[in-house]
């Protein structure tokens, strides 16, 4: 039922559709707004400015010896990817109900296309980040090589939540209202405005239970040389992601037969 070979083969046959739907999303997103691609820059940039002023200057939350803007921005880029993928993938089935009721394709393509299209914003944000590093004259370290695998981990993690929410959204109308709220809470439960090292040893396991912690921290420390990646946290994150991904896809598969009837 879950991840069988025939289904994966079928998905492979539909790979172009994932690309086209993602391309549509990107095109439409930038066509409809006055500022277009600039949004991909403005959102993380100003959030970073606010965080730097509020949490850095005012609240004086430590940033592990990394310059504030770099500290926040490195975490904000993956965080924004995660939160927007979660939101949009969660809504992807409901907002494409015209497709669901008129044509067949593996349904998981819809949330997958969202995850793909959001990568464009993610890469733009990452390019900006490189600019910041240059500005602060911080050389990029060897652990940069880890970056591609971290991106894959982030995509899989976002997608596992995304497909789960997408399926729930079709079934339960009230779920969509819970998503923004959950994302807001998650922002504070994840080491974005504070380093995980700040959390007392006793509660470290709580941070580790949040699969986002490992990835986001790794993004931060992989790019900034001289700081060590918390491997234990990262392995936790990888393990939880693997479980969530399989469970999310399995749930999606079990629910998808009814999508066209109830959407």
């Amino acid at each position: 039922m879950g991840l069988n070979a025939r289904w994966i083969l079928e998905l492979w046959g539909y790979r172009e559709l994932v690309f086209f739907l993602a391309w549509r999303d990107v095109k439409v997103r930038y066509k409809q707004t006055v500022l277009g691609v600039l949004w991909a820059v403005i959102q993380p940039f100003f959030t970073m400015v606010v965080f730097t002023l509020l949490f850095g200057q005012l609240a004086k939350i430590p940033t592990d010896g990394i310059p504030g803007p770099i500290f926040y921005f490195s975490a904000l880029v993956p965080w924004i990817y995660f939160s927007s993928t979660l939101t949009n993938a969660g809504m992807s089935l409901v907002s494409n109900s015209n497709l669901l009721t008129k044509i067949y394709f593996p349904r998981i393509i819809l949330p997958a296309a969202v995850a793909l299209s959001n990568l464009v914003d993610f890469f733009i944000g990452s390019a900006l980040f490189i600019g910041f590093m240059a500005y602060y004259e911080i050389p990029l370290g060897w652990s940069l090589l880890l970056w591609p695998s971290l991106v894959i981990l982030l995509v899989l993690l976002s997608l596992s939540f995304g497909v789960f929410l997408a399926a729930l959204n079709v079934k339960y109308r009230d779920f969509r209202y819970a998503i923004p709220f959950a994302i807001q809470l998650l922002l504070f439960a994840t080491p974005i405005i504070y380093p995980a090292s700040m959390v007392p040893e006793k509660f470290r396991w709580l941070v580790a239970l949040n699969p986002l912690s490992g990835v986001i921290e790794a993004f931060r420390y992989a790019l900034v040389p001289g700081s060590a990646i918390d491997w234990k946290l990262l392995w936790f994150s990888i393990g939880i992601t693997a479980v969530l991904f399989v469970a999310g896809v399995a749930y999606f598969r079990s629910a998808e037969k009814a999508f066209a009837d109830i959407v």
Binding site: E16, R24, V28, T101, I103, K171, D174, I262
Partner: protein, 429 residues
């Protein structure tokens, strides 16, 4: 003979009433009965019940039936959009389904971009679209606007673009639903020609339409679905005639309007029955070609309705529109209809229809048709043969739909003179 489609004992059940539930409801229900079967009181409706048939390779099958007969459900199951509750289906080869023209078109994208998007959604590879791109554009006839966002397109242009993409699919099995029901006559012709091309290409086609003439022209076989079951399966013409006959009800003197599911409208005013009368308003038993008659449309109004427009369309039993007529286009405005029963009459001096079954589609709307009070209420009109030419020879439906009262003459030199008398015409049938 190999079968393209095999369907065995296919049934589909839908839940009626509220489809979606809230998470809270499910949680509460679960808390109340954690182990028992839930949703016991749910109501179900069978959209399809034990449907079985096979379609041979290259066969073109028309599926007909009233709204709610299960046609669309059947097509959706065959297209894998929805899943059967019971039964098996087997479809061989590449399937393309066109349940709508232009599925997935996005307003903000240009015609060119939408061709690629739509093609991809319909299962075409990019290479394939690249190859057919020029042909698609030419077929659609929107060359000039191909780089314009389709939100600026007229609905006709959108339709043509959508069909142009679909016409370039190369499936083994094609499933088409009502695509031809929209668009102008020229476009419909184009679509029919394209379908004809598919048929001659040896593809298996399953075609659902209310346009019975199109079904008859295109399909070799017809399947009539009624209440989720196969009512009749056979030659297209034979099935269509049986279907039309069922539409009937009685046509002697008076016919009631059945509440078919195609009937629309908010019900502020509804037609209740149709009476056929003689010009002196006495009831009549049957309607014949050339008769003078009065058709009295009875209605019932729930509330006072200002300026309702009563109108009808008359169709052949093959679904071809013969005429549309309204009270306001004939200079009769109805300022107001009071609650309760009433009627409106149409007097026809000479009913110039050849003997056949026809049907009225009756409407009551406001003057701009933005409000439909009653829509597509159908009633059958059976026209019997009559000696309309006064020659003793009576035409049948084989001679067409209508006749125009006319006089034939020959130059005097050729005239046989009064003594020869008639005789020739009766030999013809």
């Amino acid at each position: 003979m190999t079968h393209s489609i095999e369907i065995q004992g296919l049934s589909k059940r839908y839940r009626i009433g509220r489809l979606q539930r809230t998470f809270r409801e499910d949680i509460i229900e679960f808390a109340k009965r954690p182990f028992g079967r839930r949703n016991k009181e749910a109501e179900w409706i069978w959209a399809l019940r034990d449907v079985s048939f096979e379609v041979a390779e290259g066969e073109v099958v028309g599926i007909i039936g009233r709204n709610g007969a299960g046609k669309s459900t059947l097509l959706k199951i065959l297209s894998k959009i929805t899943y059967p509750t019971e039964g098996n289906i087997k479809v061989r080869g590449r399937v393309s389904s066109l349940l709508e023209v232009g599925t997935g078109f996005h307003e903000e994208l240009t015609g060119r971009e939408n061709i690629y998007l739509n093609g991809s959604i319909l299962g075409m590879k990019k290479r394939q679209v690249d190859k057919c791109f020029d042909a698609i554009v030419a077929f659609s006839g929107v060359e000039q606007f191909i780089d314009t966002q389709i939100k600026r397109y007229s609905s006709g242009m959108r339709l043509r673009l959508g069909f142009a993409v679909a016409a370039h699919l190369e499936p083994d099995v094609l499933i088409v639903d009502e695509v031809l029901a929209v668009g102008d006559a020229g476009f419909q012709k184009k679509c029919l020609d394209a379908m004809e091309g598919l048929r001659s290409g040896g593809r298996t086609v399953l075609f659902v339409s209310h346009n019975l003439a199109a079904v008859e022209n295109l399909c070799s076989r017809g399947i009539w679905l009624d209440g989720g079951k196969v009512r009749k399966d056979g030659g297209a013409k034979e099935v269509i005639l049986a279907y039309m006959a069922s539409f009937a009800g009685s046509t002697t003197g008076e016919s009631t309007l059945e509440d078919s599911e195609s009937r629309k409208g908010n019900g502020e005013i509804r037609y209740t029955r149709v009476e056929y009368l003689n010009p002196d308003r006495t009831p009549r038993a049957l309607t014949r070609s050339g008769d003078s008659l009065v058709i009295r449309f009875h209605y019932h109004a729930k509330n006072t309705v200002p300026f309702p427009v009563f109108w009808f369309r008359l169709f052949t039993n093959m679904g071809t529109l013969i005429t549309e007529s309204a009270c306001d286009t004939h200079g009769v405005d109805v300022p107001r209809v009071e609650p309760g029963a009433g009627y409106i009459e149409v007097e026809i001096e000479s009913l110039n229809l050849l003997p056949a079954q026809y049907y009225f589609s009756l409407w009551i709307t406001d003057s701009v048709e933005s409000l439909v009070y009653d829509g597509d209420a159908r009633t059958l009109l059976e026209v019997e043969p009559a000696n309309i030419y006064a020659s003793g020879w009576t035409p049948t439906s084989r001679q067409g739909i209508a006749y125009f009262p006319q006089r034939w003459s020959v130059p005097i030199a050729l005239s046989p003179g009064p003594s020869s008398g008639p005789g020739l015409p009766a030999a013809r049938r």
